[in-house]
Symmetry: C2
Subunit: 287 residues, 2 copies
Amino acid sequence: MKPIFKKALIIGVGLIGGSLALSARAKGVVREIVGLGRSQRSLQRALELGVIDAVAKDLKEGLQGTDLVVLAMPVGKFEEWALALSQHTLEGVTVTDVGSVKGNLVIKLEEILKGKAVFVGGHPIAGKEKSGVEASQATLFEGALCILTPTPQTPPESLKRVQSLWEGVGSKVSIVDPFLHDKLLALVSHLPHMVAYALVNAVLDADVGGHDPIFYSGGGFRDFSRIAASSEEMWADICLQNRDALVDMLNLYQEKLSELKEKIINGNREALCQTFHRAKEMRGKIA
Amino acid sequence: MKPIFKKALIIGVGLIGGSLALSARAKGVVREIVGLGRSQRSLQRALELGVIDAVAKDLKEGLQGTDLVVLAMPVGKFEEWALALSQHTLEGVTVTDVGSVKGNLVIKLEEILKGKAVFVGGHPIAGKEKSGVEASQATLFEGALCILTPTPQTPPESLKRVQSLWEGVGSKVSIVDPFLHDKLLALVSHLPHMVAYALVNAVLDADVGGHDPIFYSGGGFRDFSRIAASSEEMWADICLQNRDALVDMLNLYQEKLSELKEKIINGNREALCQTFHRAKEMRGKIA
């Protein structure tokens, strides 16, 4: 494939940044990839593993000849890095990200980089329980969804290039408004994580006569606890960055749970069957 | 293996009853297996598939020469069947069950059968998304946990025989008080199912600008929706039969969820990290 970008600077070479580096080079969509980040150990490891071509000693060095910057550190650090980027010459540079939160953050980053570089928000829906560069895979994005969140300010040709990058590594691209993205993700990703965290904490705190509840758990609880095993720092950032949408969805969820509890308390078998049947039908559609 | 029971009557030949029949004969722990239940179609299917040796036309016929009766229909029907059983001569018969609820139900069944047959409560922790006799497997209980719930009335030799039956089909047996069983299962099985049902219903009812949220969902939500796909009738029965323990656990869960929401609303990053870290540590122990 003809390279879409000459040289990419990936800031934060963890699971997602590392997998993008591996797959972008494997598919030939980016010619050269340089890494930068706060952990030198992790960057050296990325270099040893052949995930990146070089480690930049600072932003100035990293930006030399670069036409793509990817923000792949935790979302809580995006603003700080965008401010640092804005101190440099960024002519012809496209800045994108892989963060799980868009909305206001996209508007803010766009504002910070205004007149200097184009920003195109991106969110590949891919991940694993494990984090860190060691978990990187060249195939992580194959067949996965990547949401891009342009605004009325986004030049169509920049959006097109970032779209080609993700399609080049095998993703299906979907274009969604940044605020709607946050609602959707709060619902199908952030809320399920909160629900799982609360469940694991309930299991830890329940009084069951000294027995170890885990010993008695079947597949259901294990599936839940799997999603509660992700990086706590990443999830704290997501909660705070997507607070409004997440709290809305938590409110909706609490309503549904209270309704269900009422049906159990009232012994309303028919209403319970209807509620469960509805959920089962939906599962049928996605299985 | 020397047979532990000569002839078993399994009432309700679905996934669990059918799998017990297949595995008990494969391992030689029961010599002959007869099926009985409300659906003649399902019993004929069990016979065609070689899951059972014969279909009994009624309880009287089914009880001839039988030394083991297994209640394997939905828990909501146990009492009715125990009352029907109590109308017959049951000398030397052990009655057991495979229901997910114990506690009061065990006391009630024991009372109904008092002076006629011994009742030993049992609960194999095994199941699949699919139900029905077609989904039966001779290996379903291998390595799985089976909880037996004797009471002070249970003769030790009867408990021993039922334990040998389950160990004979490959299960690990754990002996637990019937009421504590209900608390444990409410926590690690029934609560997770309610949590998943409420989540699927929230996703169905959320307002996300006409987008289909399922399209944007990753592995996390899919894991949840899998456990919401079980038989609605079975789950309605479980909720009603284990109402007290389940409502207690739902209350505890609602507390944990409210605490988590407060931390998000207050932007308390450190507290969020601690909550998430605690869940992750626990996951580490069971992974």
